[in-house]
Subunit: 417 residues, 2 copies
Amino acid sequence: MQRKAFVLGGAHTPYIGKFHPDFIWKGHPDFGKRDNPSLGEYLRIIIPKALAAAGVEARAIDKGIVANFAGELFSNQGHLGSVAVAADPALDTKPFWRVEGACASGGIALLSAVEAVKAGADLVLVVGAEVQNTKNAKEGADYLARAADYDAQRSIDPFTFPCLFARRAKAYREAYGMSEETLAWVAVKAYANANKNPNAHMRTVKLDHERAKVASDKNPVFLSNPEYKDYLKVSDCSQVSDGASALVVASEEALERLGRSRDSVVEIAACELATSSIVGPKSLVSLDNCKAAADRAYARAGVNPDAIDVAEVHDCFSITEVMLYEALGFAAQGQAQRLLLDGATQIDGRIPVNTGGGLIGFGHPVGATGVKHALEVFRQMKGQCGDYQLAKTPQWGISANIGGDDRTAVVTIYRNL
Amino acid sequence: MQRKAFVLGGAHTPYIGKFHPDFIWKGHPDFGKRDNPSLGEYLRIIIPKALAAAGVEARAIDKGIVANFAGELFSNQGHLGSVAVAADPALDTKPFWRVEGACASGGIALLSAVEAVKAGADLVLVVGAEVQNTKNAKEGADYLARAADYDAQRSIDPFTFPCLFARRAKAYREAYGMSEETLAWVAVKAYANANKNPNAHMRTVKLDHERAKVASDKNPVFLSNPEYKDYLKVSDCSQVSDGASALVVASEEALERLGRSRDSVVEIAACELATSSIVGPKSLVSLDNCKAAADRAYARAGVNPDAIDVAEVHDCFSITEVMLYEALGFAAQGQAQRLLLDGATQIDGRIPVNTGGGLIGFGHPVGATGVKHALEVFRQMKGQCGDYQLAKTPQWGISANIGGDDRTAVVTIYRNL
């Protein structure tokens, strides 16, 4: 008889970075006059925005959890619970802390909020934020390699994580005969969805299948590792984004106290975390750790993959999305390419995935991503997605947020009320 | 009717660093042949050791929480939930994650375990670890400054945190007329206690009041800031330590299942976290954020400060211990020096504080400290402290773990059963 947890709503900042029109770089008209928001600024921007969207006053919040991967490195700033509290004087002395599980930090924050509600809290603020564009791509890649087994894996390539997933792409494509052309549909879908999303990093950048399907000057390979370099192009990668997302998780009692109708909220039917040894993975062709979390989540929620109407999955690279279709049970092992060829995961398909553009199109401010997942499912369920709103209101949704090379995974199942 | 949480036991590694006989530096006979343990090694060492001490098998653990402040910086390694899982194959796919709240990370891990038990878990592993001696003192000071408001406060001194607390020492000493000689008793007590503790960083280093009470060549001031430099000597500082501590928190059901008698465990009667804005503090002469946590903890546990028989407090600097006596209600505001002059907080005093040497004597591997606090109270309650065992078994204990300049604080109250 555990206490139930609900999403009340929340907000995103725009996700920005290279190729986003508002991102201040040396070619931008405001360069030298204005700067991109800092990590602290993102927290101070997103918290009031999310509270307003959720209809909750700061003083009513019981606890807050901040998801961030590498603030100490990109922004010289840790201790982010305290930085978040600076967003509103009414938060002073409330319990706020930061959680970290690499790119799954946002999912861990959501899980921590669900646990807090089970433990007795009524209103919990979940905030995810990351700033990465303070450093160049090579330095950033070194920082992000701290999500891998740094001493053992850093040397695989200057771009460690792209290479770890190129390794998976090679293994998977060889095992199951998936062509580069087929894989390219993941990125094409991501950009097409992002082009309809005003908060997306790639909202103004077009990608057609012609460009996505083969390496070219405009879509180059960039790894150095000779064994894996041909298995990953720029278009296969998620974005190096700055941004923040936040939402409020509430107990049933809080809904009553706030006079919130059931049809304005979404129930978190299950939220499951699995963590596997940094010395891994055992299999390159399946996301076994994520599958463990997914299996538990389905069991806890009492549904199976057929019930899912909308999904947000962690497409850190295009191959990851393909493998997540299988880890989440949308396709049998080795069969995921069928979904791409059928268009089943497109916005008008049977099981729309990453309707706002995913990590490849919407962007990937690392700590924010898992929070964004939950909020995107909520927004689709409540008809808040504007130009990328699904035609049919979803009844069940799922999100899968992974950290490192599938070493941490949070799978969450949502029920529309 | 919340589920109760209990400490089952745990373990420390030795805390090591400069001046510890086992610490490998260029003057050590093993230099070049052997190296100090890495962060990953500390996690792999402490987890089996703590599980054995607690009498729990790895496969029985439901969840694990890792406390660490700055692994990304000192060790190029984040994603520490996954690094911890590497300690035992039986932990694979269990939910493990990392929490961070600067020097209060360990307290937050303890709190997260208590919340997990309230939410339904039965056995939760709490691990704290930090490695800081991979870098020199100046670089380390820059890393640790990420626990402050880096952009605003970094420039106060090359040693940012020592200076922030020298600022408090100056304000407090001027406000309440406390002499340097009186303050020195904090460090003298810390070293004397550490000299009886085989795990203490300063176990072989002596400090008498003669040396502690005034700056000298052997106990110099080292800050650059002209306003504050005379308010902090080397002997006033906690140690730059490497080390790990871990323990198991259990539900009442788990105690029954494991057949554990009440007198082998300690109840966590309250565990309260307060977080205040990084833009702070409002008062230099009181630890108001910690006091907020302490007030809530006493109310939750239903006891007052007079009941406390043993305390572990966050003496990151000697002035912090003095101010914590007041935040925890052992003395009225401005009156803490009475306790030092009376010897009340010495190991044979009325309210022994930091019996194993505290952060100044035992050492301060940042993420481990809050976990160590809890385990030290447990060990005193269960008679496991050897040469520094209290004569009278404590019935009630308290710990206060703070992060940054009192921006995060976890206060925990323990009841011996």
